[in-house]
Amino acid sequence: MTRRGSPDNLSHAQESRRLLWLRIWTTMTLVLGFNYIGWRWLASVNWANWWIAVPLVLAETYSIIDLTLFSITIWRSRQREDAPPPPLDSDVDVFITTYNEPVELVVETVRAAIKIDHPHRTWVLDDGAREDLRQAAETLGAGYITRGDEWHGKPRHAKAGNLNNALLQTQGEYILVLDADMVAHPAILDRTLGFFSDEKVGLVQTPQHFINVPPSDPLGSQAPLFYGPIQEGKDGWGAAFFCGSNAVLRREALMEIGITGYVDATQRTVINRLKEARVLVRHSLRGADPSAQEILVQTRNAIDHALAEISRAEPIAEVTYVLHRKLSQLSHATVGDDMAQLADDLDALGFDQAAFNIDSEEVISRLAALDLSPLNAVEAVDRTLQAIDIGRSDEAQAVLPMATISVTEDMATSMRMHARGWKSVFHNEILAEGLAPEGLAASLTQRLRWAQGTMQVFLRENPLTLRGLTLPQRLMYFSTMWSYLSGFATVVYLLAPILFLTAGVLPVSSYAEQFFLRFIPFMVANQLLFVFASRGLPTWRGQQYTLALFPVWIKACYTAAANVWAGRPLGFAVTPKAGTRQTQIPWGLIGWQLAASIALVISIVVGTIWLVTGHAEPIGTLINLAWVVFDLVSMSALVGAVRYRGYHADEETR
């Protein structure tokens, strides 16, 4: 077993000392950072060129806030002590989720899962419903679960739906979730279950590590900073995230959020529908003919009453029952009136009304029933009756334990668990290893999905306002969401030096001593902070990609917003796990970055010419040249990425 982050297993005292120094360094970096940004706002914005000066100072402010959130995170990034031994009687289901991965790949994962030491049952959750996989699973002795008929024509909710479907068909007290490619270590449960001896712990997450990645990690697949100091820091603040795989969950916690989610959703739906209905009733009241008018007024009063009762926290089921009864009485009375009038007409026509039995209770009840009721005449009343549907008939399952508000169901789920007071643990030990995408296209798809999912959660269940979270938990979730806004800042960071070098547009009022004194110490401290925080782990690749993938982050923001606000589809794709190697260089994937790089190179040439010919201010030019070089070096990660042909273990020695 590999303990990541501390090759020599730091002792408790050493770890405390390390954390103390890290905090001192963090504080110093923040002081320098705020000193710099304060000076930028107060004394160095070149208002003459406000159209670039203001975006630049805003981008820098964004970065300082990002750094502040990162600093808060790592303030408590400490390795946990090992878990106590697991309770022997804990009952565990191991879920292997698959959709379209090759059967041989899933079979390897199943084999490893079956070999896990602690007693458990292994289940294959096949959303692809493949007969050969069913046979393979059953031959190996694993259970096989796929979606039933109740999902027909209902939203499937991808992986979240797959897990929810299995949760309702199994009983284990704990659930280990593994992606189709995640080969588990036999000790994975023995090393994690012990944390659940704290009865409020609902989640234990372990790192995701990939075996098909060379040390140079051309696609930036490994996330040592995230599955290290960042998750440890979030854990320190009681907010370790669920990351979808290699995690153990407590069933009780999942079911609890499923049920409260159901109650909330029902309440919201009923209230919204009743409010809509009230508006429509008011609307129909204008110009309705007198016979309909009275019924409308009474309906409106019944709706008002129901809403008032709900806001007084009366149980939804009772309120809707009373409303239902009232509307049904109204319906009855209307049919009775109609029938009485009809009987009179029959008399006038010379028929013997008694022969037709039209005012019998049976006929009236039948005509007053929901499907035939004259109240259906008014669309508004029809809707009111529909509002009383509290069975969640739009979903295959009434109770949805895994959150379905986002394509990153994992983060949304752990946030809801935290909001309900459950605790989480990040255990920094590699206990399962899987496969990373082996081509840039697949890798970009995956990152886009993560970013989109995160922004969906941000827009649908904002952690800053979600009830039940502690302030640090709010900040930990918000921090991850904030970091996905970096694409917009990057655009400014690319444009500003190009504008200066080629056109002499100056966004700051001074590039002289004042600037150096504030900027250089801050920049140095900031870079070293990453080195110290990550305990020397390779985080540079990650930093490069944060900048270089700016078009992905921007796309994620606007597609998520269009999805949440306008209901547009995300264009969601499952990340391919195998067969993702590329055969041709996919230049098209990085068109924006190529264009930006060309512009950066041109700006170097032009800037140098201005400098040599004595037309440019030397200090400003040199700073901007250095800045452009930094941008280009960051972008250069993509050169290796587009040329990457997949992993061959013998090519690079580890």
């Binding site: 309705a288 003919d289 016979s291 309909a292 019924i295 209307t334 049919v335 109609d338 029938m339 009038q341 009809l342 007409d345 029959l346 006038a348 026509l349 028929f351 037709f356 039995n357 039209i358 006929v363 039948r366 005509l367 007053a368 035939l372 009721s373 004259p374 109240l375 259906n376 005449a377 008014v378």
Partner: protein
């Protein structure tokens, strides 16, 4: 707003009831029939081919319309009723008074 009336013969009109024949539109049917009878259309067919739903108020309006036509010395028949409309007619035994015809043309045998 009234339902459209097609003229099959000088004294034979077809009232086309589109959408729902219910509490809200019942008055429309009564008004349409009263007006048609007033302009000499003493034989009327209420064409229910495009009627999606009928409730007790709609049923009442049909009988009311029949009364209006009879009072003027004419007659009113119905045609093209869908399953739901037929069910309401049967439930109230009104199919014995208003016999449902297949098409408006068949209603007066023309």
């Amino acid at each position: 707003m009234n339902f459209p009336v097609d003229e099959l013969e000088p004294d034979l009109g077809v009232v086309r009831v589109e959408g729902r024949l219910n509490m809200v539109t019942a008055t429309q049917l009564k008004d349409t029939v009263t007006e048609a009878v007033g302009t000499g259309k003493l034989r009327l067919v209420v064409d229910l081919t495009s009627t999606t739903f009928m409730d007790s108020s709609g049923l009442g309006a049909l009988i009311g319309a029949l009364k209006t036509a009879r009072a003027a010395g004419g007659d009113l028949r119905i045609a093209g009723a869908n399953e739901q409309v037929l069910m309401v007619l049967q439930l109230s035994n009104m199919d014995r008074i208003l016999r449902p015809y297949g098409t408006p043309e068949a209603a007066f045998g023309s």
